[in-house]
């Protein structure tokens, strides 16, 4: 568990982080979102003990990162934005070096490394120079480095940045495997990534927390109304009038109108409890306008993100 309380970090006059507080529960995957320069990396650097905060505190499993740094750091595995790799070492040499730094006991080392190599799938390249590996493999070695010492918390700063789509999928899969028995914090400005793996998101903007919630709650809270997508054949004008007259429907917006096929957005007041979809179906059937597609349109994380960070 990580408790972050009122974290502030100044760089000269600039406030990179300005009073961030949140808690990360055990075994959850927390997404840490924000536009570039919002203070994501700074916050992560403070949590891991790389930087000190100007004020505020970070407690990792009850240990303050500044007062008991050794105890706190033991619980954290960190993959920074730029993986801290030595290009002139082989993967195995490098991981052994990290074992030395993290004071992993000699007796446990071999077993632990074998497990990590298998988990992040770098057994084949264990004896190759890190400098000669592809970017995806380097990222894996970076994750392996974070796993050394069996930390229960993993902090991954933009783990898929600069990878090709295949590598992104593989790393995501790996993160999902790791999430089973680790607490994970992932920062990203790529929203689909967070949506794919996270339980909860913290959105920060200009050094402050803009929102903390689960993804589904966030979308509900933000929209206040829900949207349905309706695509149909028939007379668009008649359908429009008829759907608008159904109680609970606040708007009917034609998005695409072809000769035959139309697509519309139906905005529904979500405070009405009865399911409006049945009424729409019968209204359409009365007009003999066949429904081609009918589904709910929840706001994507992209929309949530934009609406929060732009201050609307």
């Amino acid at each position: 568990m990580i408790e972050i309380d009122n974290l502030v970090k100044h760089y000269g006059d600039q406030k990179a982080v300005n009073g961030i507080s949140f808690t990360v529960n055990d075994d959850e995957v927390l997404g840490f979102l924000g536009p570039n320069g919002a203070g994501k990396s700074t916050t992560m650097n403070i949590i891991t003990g790389y930087l000190s905060s100007t004020s505020g505190s970070v407690k990792v499993n009850g240990h303050d990162i500044l007062e008991e740094p050794e105890m706190a750091k033991e619980h954290i595995g960190y993959l920074p934005e730029l993986p801290p790799l030595y290009m002139d070492m082989t993967v195995l040499e490098y991981l052994n070096f990290v074992c030395d730094l993290k004071k992993v006991k000699k007796s446990e080392r071999k077993e632990q490394l074998a497990k990590i190599l298998a988990m992040v799938k770098i057994v084949d390249v264990a004896d190759r120079l890190i400098g000669n590996l592809s970017k995806g493999y380097k990222q894996r070695v970076g994750i392996a480095q974070a796993l050394v010492g069996n930390p229960d918390i993993l902090i991954l700063d933009e783990p898929t940045v600069g990878l090709d789509p295949n590598q992104v999928l593989e790393i995501r899969k790996l993160i999902r495997t790791l999430a089973k028995d680790h607490t994970v914090i992932i920062s990203s400005h790529i929203l689909s990534e967070i949506q794919a793996v996270c339980d909860r998101v913290v959105i920060i903007n200009k050094g402050k927390v803009a929102a903390i919630d689960t993804i589904s709650d966030l979308s509900k809270r933000l929209s206040g109304s829900s949207k349905l997508l309706l695509s149909f054949k028939g007379d668009a004008k008649k359908v429009g009038n008829s759907v608008r007259s159904i109680p609970g429907v606040t708007d009917f917006k034609l998005r695409i109108s072809d000769k035959e096929v139309h697509e519309a957005e139906v905005i529904v007041d979500s405070s009405t409890n009865n399911d409006i979809r049945t009424s729409i179906f019968f209204a359409m059937s009365k007009l003999a306008a066949p429904i081609l597609e009918f589904r709910s349109l929840d706001p994507t994380l992209e929309e949530i993100f934009l609406s929060i960070t732009s201050g609307k």
Binding site: Y50, L51, P69, K73, D88, V98, L101, K102
Partner: protein, 254 residues
């Protein structure tokens, strides 16, 4: 500390740096030795004394990347986010560079053996020179590490180390010039010639006090004393400590 030491030392041989430094030192020491040997006047103290003048080139080569490269490549984050303490990072790197110097110095030991075999003398003065050589090497390496701590560019680090070491090597000349200049200046201002020159002398001796070469010059006659070594060790520790503080500062920068 051992982990850092091991990594840095081996890293000298994963890159050209270690080989370049060893080759350079072997060439220089071999050249000096062969010249002396051919003329039949081998003087190991003198050989070692001449080799000291190459600190200014070799030390920057082997220290420039020690901390600067970590900063540039982001690998320094490992030191800050693992339980290792930052002073042992500095100390481990220092010892790795010192050991590399030790390896280069094997050349001179070979020369000693050759001298001995050919019936020459390896006197106590030669051993005195060896001792001084290592204390000076330690001092200059710590300066090189300091230069590597203040920047993330190897070039800037090397130039900084080069300039500091050059100034130290020229301290006695600098002292003389400054002393003379200040007495001349004072006499122009109308100060009596006697007090002007005494002030100049004082300035010169003050600058000379800082000169580690002058301090340790008696060793090559076989006269050992603790104070000069203590002087070198103190300054070595000061520079290592400053480097450590620079690393710490990075964490606390506001």
């Amino acid at each position: 500390m051992l982990a850092i030491f091991k990594r840095e030392f081996l890293s000298y041989f994963r890159n050209p740096v270690g080989y370049i430094a060893i080759a350079l030192f072997s060439f220089l020491s071999g050249y000096i030795f062969i010249n002396n040997f051919a003329s039949g006047a081998v003087n190991l103290s003198l050989e070692i004394a001449s080799l000291r003048s190459f600190f200014v080139v070799i030390v920057p080569i082997i220290t420039m990347g020690l901390l600067a490269e970590d900063r540039k490549r982001g690998t320094e984050i490992l030191y800050y986010t693992t339980p290792i303490d930052l002073f042992s990072v500095v100390a481990g790197k220092f010892l790795a560079a010192l050991l590399l110097y030790g390896i280069m110095f094997i050349n001179v030991f070979v020369h000693m053996i050759v001298t001995k075999i050919c019936g020459g003398v390896v006197g106590v003065g030669a051993w005195g020179s060896v001792v001084v050589f290592f204390f000076l090497a330690a001092l200059f390496i710590s300066i090189g590490i300091f230069a590597s701590a203040i920047t993330d560019s190897q070039i800037i680090s090397a130039i900084t180390a080069f300039i500091i070491i050059l100034v130290i090597q020229l301290l006695s000349t600098i002292g003389k010039l400054l002393g003379n200049a200040i007495s001349a200046f004072l006499s122009i201002l109308g100060v009596s010639a006697e007090s002007a020159s005494s002030f100049g002398d004082k300035l010169e001796s003050a600058i000379n006090w800082l000169d580690p070469f002058a301090k340790t010059s008696n060793f090559r006659y076989g006269i050992f004393s603790v104070a000069p070594l203590f002087f070198c060790v103190s300054f070595t520790i000061i520079f290592l400590f400053l480097s450590f503080r620079i690393l710490e500062k990075k964490r606390w920068a506001q």
